[in-house]
Symmetry: C2
Subunit: 324 residues, 2 copies
């Protein structure tokens, strides 16, 4: 595919430890990549300087006239609450110094291009729904499973952001009315299926003497267990791993039952690290979802893995500009 | 307000025991009413005959040239699953003989007017969001509490029906992952706050010897207790009544926490019989909702009672035609 005369945009996936940049073509193809370390940056000015060097890399690797003909602008997905319309960052809970920032305006002034910002999961959802699994659907729910559990909603082919750009927080939805408290609320989905919570279930059982191949897969080190080792063990028939993923699938199914009864999407797209576990996650999830939903609803919704993988963030961020 | 030259429509609120009809003006005002008994009707043909007599009453009471200038058509809200676009009734769970009916087409042929059908709660939500509490908002969630618990969603000023006209089933949303099973699923909101469930909580406690003024309000007859007596007792300080409404408010708050995190509406509008309980319901509901939601979400959503009361069904059904 030649992108010489077609549309392109820069997507920026803002992270606390590193920020990824990509030059993305109008079909969602990545034409060039760059990555800047953001762990040691102490000010926003440093971040803008680092982004400028990242954009320069994209220019060298991908397109000398980066901001020339066909350029649609720059999109940034940030890990926190934003006002999409105003291009304003309310707060990034895990990145100090970013509360109350007119990020889109600052980028436009710095680079003299159009800039768009959104919550990172919204950007991923937009990417998946434009170029990935969701592209054939008019109404879709996107969920990403990792350290946190986030979501995005496609309604009538448009990303739905709610009254104040904060909609889609599927990980905050309660699955247990009397569940424990956390900053998310009480008994929230993420309290049971966030990466760390999944790992804790395995560690607790192993410490109690449960026999499992999970520990061996982590080199005998309890601290080295991640959902990946648990998924591998489950795939090979490890009973503890299977039980943990059955529980994760049932928690997800509970929240998604509420989502389906409320919104009746055509498809639920699941992305993020844990979603790459494959059948050990999707099997129990589908089974519990069909057990919890009335057939008339269950028959009308598909559950599919996301396609863009680790590129969902940069592609989705660029999509903010490509679609504008 | 004169409606002589303005728009008007017929709204039909289809119920298993009676069907209400109204002639509704373009400001949502009821210009004439009729009611037909549907309890003893044994066929759909009988229902159409009864509706014809009801429409005739509207003509006599309200407007001699009912189907003349300014007439927008006929709207029907039905208690069940419909395909709005096709005007098709999938199934009315509590009314035998109505599965698989092209109701809009049948009405158009019988009356030679445009006809629209929708789920009854969707119609009520549309009425409330057009002429009632929701009219000032772009994104609203409507919930009706009665025998069942239903819902409707306003998104970008449009009723959102989902992929197959079945969205908005807030009463089916799970609040307890490990809750009991019912045809709705497991631990569904309606399993805890449907009229009968509220009454059961009171009856169970009284049978166990709990002292309460609820029984006296029901004339000493356990079988005569309804949510109304429980609400009255609670309003007067009865401890059992207060506890029951606190529980109902918390169940509602749990489901609505999920709804707010997912959709971030500007307002939640609560209608139906139980919603008329006033402060004994709204007090605990607001308190639990604000306890469960992050402040950044809680501060941005209003919880308000519906305004159209028992007329929500006919006004909403007419609105289907008025807005078309």
């Amino acid at each position: 595919m030649s992108s010489r005369n077609s549309k392109h945009a820069v997507g920026i996936d803002f992270g606390g430890t590193s920020t990824k940049l990509a030059l993305v073509g109008e079909q969602g193809t990545i034409l060039a990549r760059a990555r800047i370390s953001t762990r040691k940056l102490t000010s926003r000015a440093d971040w803008f300087d680092a982004v400028e060097s990242g954009v320069e890399q994209l220019r060298v690797k991908g397109k000398k006239d980066l901001f020339g003909t066909g350029f649609c602008g720059m999109g940034v997905g940030v890990p926190g609450f934003v006002d999409f319309k105003r291009g304003y960052v309310h707060d990034l809970p895990n990145v100090p110094g970013w509360a109350g920032v007119h990020l889109a305006k600052d980028l436009e002034e710095r680079f003299n291009v159009r800039a768009y910002i959104d919550n990172d999961v919204n950007a991923m959802a937009l990417g998946e729904c434009t170029f990935g699994t969701g592209r054939l659907y008019e109404h879709a729910v996107f969920i990403t499973m990792g350290t946190g559990v986030g979501g995005g909603l496609l309604i009538h082919n448009q990303l739905y952001r709610g009254a104040h750009s904060m909609a889609g927080e599927i990980g905050h939805m309660p699955v247990k009315m009397d569940g424990g408290r956390s900053p998310l609320g009480r008994g929230a989905l993420e309290q049971y299926v966030g990466n760390q919570r999944i790992v804790e279930r395995a560690v607790r059982a192993i410490k109690k003497g449960r026999v499992s191949s999970i520990l061996k897969k982590a080199g005998g080190d309890l601290d080295a267990i991640t959902p990946k080792e648990i998924a591998q063990a489950a795939t090979e028939g490890d009973q503890l791993g299977i039980e943990i993923f059955d529980f994760v699938g049932d928690c997800l199914a509970t929240a998604l039952t509420g989502v389906v009864y409320l919104l009746q999407p055509q498809v639920i797209v699941i992305g993020g690290g844990v979603a790459q576990s494959g059948e050990v996650l999707f099997g129990p999830l589908e089974r519990h979802l069909r057990d919890r939903l009335k057939p008339v609803f269950a028959e009308r919704v598909a559950v599919l893995p996301a396609r863009l993988g680790n590129d969902a963030g940069v592609i989705g961020s660029a999509t903010l500009a490509l679609l504008s």
